[in-house]
């Protein structure tokens, strides 16, 4: 087995810098939270797009509720022979008033801290300081919505239905109040005005399944083990980054991709292909060997971040 590692070239270094930049972008929305037990958790903030989507879904639901209520009340009023039309009107307005004002509050105070729209988008409200999410915070963040959404809307309508100087006033009002509407895009924590005042933020609802351990699957195939005897040099070629990429690859990529990656690894570590060796078997065993090697190093305090790390 010859020494396979070479000094990193200029292109390698550039590739590494690029990778770090991509990682930084991917973790721009990650926020650290230290629990009272002292463990550090990572919360992922919701993107502004997801929140806008959630808001639109919620309003579609609210409007559907309005339609259903008005339809039901009309039917009942008709059933009563159209006596008391005024009562029906007033009743409908009352219910609409309640739904419009308390829809968001009702759902966000609930156990999931999310409206149906937020749940569909996979986000929820959480307290920014890591403490309890109080009812007051929910109230505050939803009252401020009046200013954020309905003020621009008001100016928009009055721009459409006014003339002369009034139009200009409305346009300036629209621009000014529009600033609040687009505030989530203007700060790094994606806070809207209501979040700022209430001390909340919107995070992605954590969802992740525990999958099988790839190393275990290979451990079962005891007879195959003797075939894959990687030397220390062969296992020293890659670092943690490559290990993680290999893990993702084994979990989700296609057969063709696996074949080509297996070929590249074989070439890199100088591995003679065995007569009945399949690509997947090779990758799995190499993954298990590499992980064992790297984890052992980890226990000794050496963290080999990637293949350029010596």
């Amino acid at each position: 087995m010859s020494e396979t590692r070479t000094a990193p070239t200029k292109a390698d270094r550039q590739a590494r810098r690029q990778r770090l930049a991509i990682n930084a972008r991917a973790t721009a929305l990650d926020r650290k939270l230290v629990t009272p037990e002292g463990a550090e958790l990572t919360l992922k903030l919701s993107s502004a797009g997801k929140r806008a989507g959630a808001f639109i879904i919620d309003w579609i639901i609210i409007i559907l509720i309005f339609i259903v209520i008005i339809f039901a009340i009309t039917k009942i009023s008709e059933g009563l022979g159209r006596r008391g039309d005024g009562i029906a009107d007033a009743l409908a307005m009352l219910v609409i008033f309640a739904v419009r004002n308390f829809y968001f509050i009702f759902f966000e105070i609930g156990r999931r801290a999310a409206t149906p729209g937020k749940r569909l988008s996979g986000v929820r409200v959480a307290s920014r300081n890591g403490g309890q999410l109080t009812a007051n915070a929910i109230l505050a963040r939803n009252f401020v919505r009046e200013v954020e959404v309905f003020m621009p809307l008001f100016y928009l309508l009055s721009t459409a239905f006014s003339a002369g100087v009034e139009t200009w006033i409305s346009i300036f009002g629209l621009l000014w109040s529009g600033l609040f509407l687009f505030m989530p895009l203007l700060n790094k924590d994606k806070l809207r005005l209501g979040d700022l005042i209430a001390g909340t933020w919107v995070i992605e609802t954590p969802k992740k399944k525990l999958l099988g351990d790839i190393a275990k699957t290979s451990g079962k195939m005891a007879d195959a083990e003797t075939k894959f005897n990687f030397t220390a040099e062969q296992l020293d070629v890659y670092g943690i980054h490559e290990l993680h990429i290999l893990e993702n690859l084994l979990r989700k990529s296609t057969k063709e991709v696996k074949a080509s990656v297996a070929e590249r690894i074989r070439k890199k570590i100088d591995w003679e292909r065995l007569p009945d060796e399949s690509d997947i078997d090779f990758l799995r065993h190499y993954y298990a060997g590499l992980r064992k090697n790297l984890e052992q190093k980890l226990l000794l305090g050496q963290r080999k971040a990637d293949k350029f790390d010596t």
Binding site: D89, A90, M93, Q132, T134, A135, A140, S218, E247
Partner: protein
């Protein structure tokens, strides 16, 4: 590779408990805390701490990405649940009415006075200006009040103070129209605009004061002051109190932003914002009562003395509710 990986053994030993925790938290999220059995409740804190320690350990010994991100998810989910809101809506509402709201209002007496000064000060100003020269009326009320202007006859003005229609339909629509009138909007805006150092809040409250003062001057100049007071205050005590409180909530936030003291500006705004929100939702509740009084009370009661009695009664009730000392109270 005759022996299994250490990180795999680590996972195998703890996996069952992770799944158990996952199951409990999912159940609680779907069906509420009450769906949990006693065993679940007892196991929850232990399982949660175990998962957190597993996560810390896994980070230092395991390189299995999936295990670590799963544990992070599990811990975050459990954390949000364990430290999340716990009370249900009913007990929260009971707490709000018994302690939360009156305590918040009582603690905010300074901004309340400021807000009242804005409302009644500007009202007085408009009243005096209009009494000197009724032309001022047009400055304050460009189009809002409709037919009740200095051009109307005294008899017409008087007739607007009493109503003949007393059927349920009329009352109900007056009530709902009142709900949709600008009042609850004004209250929420006064709160929500507070963050700009309270300036828009002051303008909003003062503007309402000006309208009120000009309106009052018009009736006063026709010798209808006594009658108007009854017409206005039967629900006005509640309504104006609500607007004053909403303004106070706005000023609290403004004050929090402008004078943060030891805290950062953002923390200070948050601290003020939370108790101010309590006051603001309370103001909406008050406006609801005001709408009831206006829709039903004022239509049914056309006697000045009874109107006065109700006005004084509501005033005493609100003052007692907010400012009488209480045996126990959690600070909001």
């Amino acid at each position: 590779m005759s022996e299994l990986l250490k990180s795999y053994r680590f996972r195998e030993e703890r996996e069952a408990e992770w799944h158990k925790l996952d199951q409990i938290v999912n159940k609680a999220e779907k069906r509420g805390v009450n769906a949990l059995s006693d065993d679940d409740m007892i196991a929850l804190p232990r399982l949660y701490r175990q998962a957190v320690s597993s996560l810390t350990l896994a980070r230092s010994i395991s390189l299995d990405q999936n295990v670590i991100s799963y544990l992070e998810t599990l811990c975050t989910k459990s954390y949000l649940f364990v430290y999340g809101t716990r009370t249900n809506l009913m007990s929260k509402m009971a707490d709000f009415f018994t302690y939360g709201w009156p305590n918040a209002v009582r603690a905010a007496w300074k901004p309340t006075l400021l807000s009242a000064a804005c409302l009644f000060g500007s009202g007085l100003l408009a009243f005096i200006l209009c009494m000197i020269d009724m032309e001022w009326f047009w400055t304050f009320n460009s189009s809002i009040i409709g037919e009740r202007t200095p051009d109307a006859t005294t008899a017409f003005l008087e007739s607007t103070l009493y109503s003949e229609e007393t059927d349920a339909e009329g009352m109900l629509s007056a009530f709902s129209a009142q709900l949709f009138s600008n009042n609850s909007g004004v209250a929420l805006f006064a709160f929500a605009l507070g963050f700009m150092f309270g300036v828009p809040t002051a303008i909003l409250v003062a503007y309402n004061g000006l309208l009120l003062g000009a309106f009052y001057a018009l009736f006063w100049s026709r010798g209808l002051g006594y009658e108007l007071t009854g017409w206005l205050l039967i629900h006005g005590v509640t309504e104006l109190f609500a607007i004053v409180l909403a303004g106070a909530a706005g000023f609290m936030i403004g004050g929090g932003v402008a004078f943060p003291g030891q805290k950062s500006r953002m923390e200070s705004a948050q601290a003020a914002g939370r108790s101010a929100a309590t006051i603001a939702i309370g103001a909406v509740v008050m406006l609801f009562f005001a709408a009831l009084l206006e829709g039903f009370g004022r239509q049914l009661i056309n006697n000045d003395e009874v109107r006065y009695a109700i006005a004084i009664g509501t005033f005493v009730l609100w003052m007692g509710y907010f400012y009488l000392p209480r045996a126990r109270g959690d600070q909001p």
